[in-house]
Symmetry: C2
Subunit: 187 residues, 2 copies
């Protein structure tokens, strides 16, 4: 059942709760307010021996395309712990974080992405349940036309710009870019 279908069954309607200034999803039957807030994606560009870790997605959206190990931050963890957890879940990779590479905003999806630069703490990697395949890629081996999301493309390019540096302000979205997928995917 899609989220929309569940919300229909739950009798949620958009209305402005007392003392609020924005419309929220309010259940007409019981008054439950389902506050929607932007979600945080945590991930990392993981280096080892001059190569970068990528994961081929086993699930939608963008099944079959390559991405960084990244995903939604969970309750009661720190951002860096979340990025480390995602590297473990998606690529069975133990990583050490070096710097915050980028803070992207994807307003269409109400997402903030915190992308770290990291390196492998141990050389072993293996696909987790959401990855069909994982691999280490030299920069000129990266499958640019098969990347899952624009922000993967941004992060890989920006990471290259600050190669060898540790003291830098994090990057943001490239000018005029908001993470929309183009069709055909001209990432």
């Amino acid at each position: 059942m899609s989220d929309d279908a569940v919300q229909q069954k739950s009798n949620f309607k958009r209305s402005v709760p007392e003392g609020d200034s924005l419309e929220r999803m309010v259940c007409v039957d019981c008054g439950f307010i389902n506050y929607e807030n932007p979600k945080i994606v945590v991930g990392s560009v993981v280096h080892d021996a001059g190569k970068i870790l990528l994961c081929r997605r086993a699930i939608n959206p963008r099944k079959g395309f390559w991405t960084l190990p990244a995903g939604f931050m969970e309750q009661h963890e720190t951002a860096m712990a979340g990025a480390m957890r995602e590297a473990w879940e998606e690529a069975t990779a133990k990583i050490e974080i070096e710097a915050l590479l980028a803070v992207y905003s994807i307003p269409r999806l109400s997402q903030v992405q915190l992308i770290y630069r990291a390196h492998l703490a141990a050389p072993e990697i293996a696909p987790g349940p959401e990855s069909a395949e994982v691999g280490m890629f030299a920069f000129d081996e990266i499958p640019w036309k098969e990347l899952a999301f624009p922000s993967v493309h941004w992060a890989l390019g920006q990471d290259r710009e600050v190669a060898g540096q540790t003291h830098f302000p994090p990057f943001v979205n490239p000018p005029g870019e908001f993470g929309d997928l183009k069709d055909p995917a001209g990432l």
Copy 2:
């Protein structure tokens, strides 16, 4: 009615949805899954003529204490737009953002705080509905013992450390600090 009371009436119970690995709040009646994710707070240390903007809170938590203009990011905005909106809502301040000062994680509250350094784009400030009072403070005039939250204390001190700089990596939580209020408030 508290969140807990609403959720009780809504018949939410903690259970692990099919295909998931964590417990979520699931409505027993209709199956609606109320995913809980960390929330993003966006705010700023706003400078003008050697002084810093603070707001005295008119609402709980920590009513009567001083804070930075900051609040929950809303759907479909960018992080920087959110910080600018909060400065406007809490202090009627038009600001220009200079740099990302800090990324704090408060795991107890499942919050990530993105705190920017900014300056006033126009000198006028006035309290918004959530502020009892707003003011510009020189560093040695800051009411350190009346600050609302530990992260306000961190941000003001860290901002001072990089005074005059624009090219720096954002700060994180001070070592061993997770944003817990101490009692008495030894911020």
